[in-house]
């Protein structure tokens, strides 16, 4: 199949950047989107041009590195997939495909389609951990009984790969789905209860500092999330935040 690509090109963080048009006429419909990008880059290299910079690592939907806003949606038109899992069969012969970096004040562009998502790391550092002895006498996790529904919900929340699609799709560039998944994953389990109050307060504070927007419950994040993280997590985080705000002694 033949496709016309409209790709965001930006030399550096300070460069203004613009859309460039490229044509590819040897795309197979069973290729992944990233394989299609590889073909584009091979073509650019042969033409003596600079290849398009884009993030990727595992190419099997688990690392969360691949980003890209494709035809107006993060990770493109398919549901429950990352860009590396998106197939060219989702497009038609002759299509024009817009490829842009994830856009948010908290995700500044580094080059072309590569954005800096370290804001997520800083939010995680602010409270996304538990304190357990790691001296070698660590108690086996199985020794702590956990109700099955809680374990399931914590597991579902832990499926978040920190890709940032929730931020990219949200009209407010809000990071609430990501942060709520990281908060829930711990707070649902007994091991996470110890720091629960401090965790939610600190992670939300860091989230706001990073310049992400306010959630207005459009639900766009849940639809675009490749891991099906539920809005229930945001409600849980709101509850915990309220409780912690009025009861925390710090």
């Amino acid at each position: 199949m033949k496709v016309t690509l409209k790709v965001w090109r930006q030399k550096s963080a300070s460069d203004k950047g613009k859309i460039e048009t490229y044509k590819l006429d040897n795309v197979e419909d069973h290729m992944s989107f990233l394989e299609m990008m590889d073909i584009l880059n091979e073509q650019l290299i042969l033409e003596g041009q600079i290849p398009v910079a884009f993030d990727h690592d595992c190419r099997e939907g688990i690392c969360g590195m691949c980003s890209m806003h494709i035809n107006g949606e993060p990770h493109g038109p398919d549901r429950g997939v990352t860009t590396c899992q998106l197939h060219m069969r989702m497009f038609n012969d002759g299509d024009t495909i817009y490829i842009e970096p994830f856009r948010a004040k908290g995700f500044p562009v580094i080059k072309d389609l590569v954005v800096d998502r370290s804001a997520f790391d800083r939010i995680q550092h602010a409270g996304g951990f538990i304190s357990v002895p790691t001296s070698g006498n660590t108690q086996d996790a199985n020794a702590t009984p956990i109700p099955k529904p809680d374990a399931d919900k914590a597991f579902d929340a832990a499926a978040c790969i920190g890709c940032g699609a929730c931020v990219a799709s949200c009209k407010n560039a809000s990071a609430m789905l990501f942060v709520s998944a990281k908060v829930s994953q711990f707070s649902l389990l007994p091991q996470g209860k110890v720091e629960a109050k401090r965790r939610v307060l600190n992670m939300v504070e860091q989230m706001d500092k990073e310049g992400f927007g306010n959630c207005s419950n459009t639900g766009s994040c849940e639809v675009e999330c490749p891991k099906g993280i539920s809005l229930e997590n945001i409600a849980r985080m709101n509850r915990e935040y309220l409780k912690a705000s009025v009861s925390s002694s710090e």
């Binding site: 949606e73 038109p77 407010n172 504070e205 706001d208 639900g219 809005l231 409600a235 709101n238 309220l242």
Partner: protein, 228 residues
């Protein structure tokens, strides 16, 4: 409160927005109930309006709370909209918002602005004349009595709904209120952290509220337009 501070955090603002919205939604129901009596009985409507317009608790306690609630709600609405707009400093060339979120949820500021404009007209129609009669002319009787009954309120109401343009504006505004509430009702519950086994049922109730309440106001306007 912790270092997050009152209204300094995004979640605190979100919750405050929801609380003001809950208050407005409760008020709207009360307003509709009283207005609806005008369809059945001019007398009851007049008596209730007279009570609401002259009762000390309503006038000097509830009304100021309402004013603060409304002003807080739309000012906060503007603040949030602006903050959120700035959270994406470089915009997408192509953005398909409709692929993942409803029109209502993405256009709360638009439906809100229509409601705000409507409230300007609404105050001009009903509140300012009321203030003039009560506070400038000093008439607290609900004058224009007929057999000892105050009838001014009902006359005033039917008088306004004679004009087709006004009725048209009223109807369109309530359609926008409906759109605002179709997202807002359930959004407010999510904001305060209520997302549980009752949510599905509540969502249905929210849709019913968001359609039936504005429809009630539209019905009243049309009723008086075609009956007087």
């Amino acid at each position: 409160m912790s270092k997050s501070g009152l209204l300094k955090s995004s979640i605190a603002r979100k919750v405050a927005m929801a609380l003001s919205a809950f208050f407005l939604m409760f008020f709207l129901l009360q307003h509709l109930t009283i207005n609806m009596t005008s369809v059945f009985s001019a007398g009851v409507f007049n008596d209730l309006s007279h009570f609401m317009g002259t009762n000390f608790v309503v006038q000097y306690l509830l009304q100021p709370v309402l004013i603060v609630g409304v002003v807080f709600h739309f000012v906060m609405g503007f603040v949030l909209e602006l903050k959120n707009y700035k959270s994406r400093d470089v915009r997408y060339v192509k953005y398909k918002g409709g692929a993942s979120a409803t029109w209502m949820s993405r256009n709360m500021i638009l439906s809100g602005l229509v409601i705000l404009a409507f409230m300007g007209l609404h105050f001009y129609d009903f509140w300012f004349p009321e203030l003039k009669i009560k506070f400038i002319e000093g008439d607290w009787t609900g004058a224009l009595t007929e057999g000892g009954e105050p009838i001014r309120y009902f006359d005033h109401l039917t008088d306004k709904f004679m004009q087709p343009v006004r009725v048209g504006i009223y109807c369109v505004s309530f359609v926008f209120l409906s759109l605002h509430l179709l997202h807002g009702f359930n959004s407010a519950f999510q904001s305060v952290g209520a997302n549980n086994k009752y949510t599905k049922a509540l969502q249905k109730f929210g849709v019913a509220y968001a359609i039936l309440v504005p429809l009630g106001f539209i019905f009243i306007a049309l009723f008086h337009h075609f009956n007087h």
